[in-house]
């Protein structure tokens, strides 16, 4: 189960987290980048430093030569850090940022004056919310409303926790060694049945 949680080269979550956009502005002139020219020239007449949004992995490239500056995105700025420190449990993380922890981790690895603070808040938020996540997973039957408020990492932990709890319950009521239909085949049949219903 651990393999689902830890980001690796082939992890879709890590790729998606690096695709999140950050507002930034250039401090040096960038040449020969086709799509940037059009983005910048549109605004250049009025403003002196045009802000554009670029995905995280591009920012990383420009940071090598320090030709870009960025502010921490909304979910990690000072105001939200305050909210998360005050009470992390009330925040709807999924709405705030789908890959809150992973993206935050990537951000905190960059050279930025707020990086340390972000790192601290990430850990604190996780610790504060973890108890509640486990509580939901183990005790509430209809947990869709709670589930919707979790970030991707928490969702995985939540699902694993639910499965573990169900397994424990079956063990306590029925004992071990029961052979069962493979989950994949069961789901496959359900889908088939549903498709047939729709056709009729």
């Amino acid at each position: 189960m651990y393999r689902h949680v830890k980001p690796h080269y082939f992890s879709i979550d890590a790729i998606m987290a690096a695709q999140e956009k950050i507002a930034c502005r250039f401090t040096k002139k960038i040449e020969c980048v086709g799509f940037l020219d059009s983005l910048i020239s549109e605004k250049e007449d009025g403003e002196s430093d045009p802000k554009i949004e670029l995905p995280f992995w591009m920012i990383k490239v420009f940071l090598i030569e320090k030709s870009i500056q960025f502010d921490m995105p909304k979910a990690y700025n000072e105001i939200y850090r305050g909210v998360l420190t005050a009470d992390a449990n009330v925040v709807d993380l999924f709405k705030l940022c789908k890959h809150f922890y992973l993206f935050g981790k990537f951000l905190s690895q960059l050279e930025h004056r707020e990086a340390y603070e972000v790192r601290r808040v990430l850990i604190q938020t996780f610790v504060d919310r973890f108890k509640q996540t486990m509580d939901w997973a183990q005790n509430i039957d209809d947990n869709q409303p709670c589930f919707n408020r979790l970030d991707c990492l928490e969702r995985k932990i939540f699902n694993d926790a639910r499965v573990a709890q169900q397994q424990l319950n079956t063990y306590l009521t029925e004992g071990s060694g029961q052979m069962e239909i493979a989950a994949m085949i069961l789901n496959y049949r359900k889908r088939k049945m549903h498709e047939n219903c729709v056709k009729e």
Partner: protein, 194 residues
Amino acid sequence: MYCDKVIELLKELERSREDTIPPYNNDGINQVLSEMKTLDTEIIDIVRKNEKGNWPTNAIRLRRAAIERNKRCLMTYIWTRLQRLKEMRWEIGAILPSDVRQNLSQSEIEWFNNYCKSLVSYMKTIGSDTGLNLIEDTKPPKSLYTEVRSLVDAGKLELESGEVLILRKNSQYMLSRSQAEPLIRQGVLEQVKH
């Protein structure tokens, strides 16, 4: 912007349920590959146009990063599909349902066949003379025989002793565990709970 197409591919995969495989998107992959080729020629053009020592390094770095990222995403696309396919081999068995098979590419079918072959030949080499079936006894067995109920009219079943049993819906049988387990996994039989 760079890499948008490949992200679409991954989103398509992410949206699908984890125990299914969506159709192999050949067009999408070809588009990404051609984007990578364009990026590569662009880099060469930039290098040729500008004098040495005066290269716009940012532009080159960005394109290179885009190529690398495209590569990573494409490999992830293929890898994730293979992981799901591999899981199917263990859950469903060597014969895939036809609608799963339809969604695979030619090389994925080849890979699946090779995987089955390697698995079988590995299982032959371990254990005693006849080999060891790793798919059997995924949960610790408590007895050699087990009571099962048939869920469908499955027809004839030849037992290890050579006798032939006719499985009828809703009737109960006493079968050896090793013979019952694959049928239970396929949903033909169900174990009677005591």
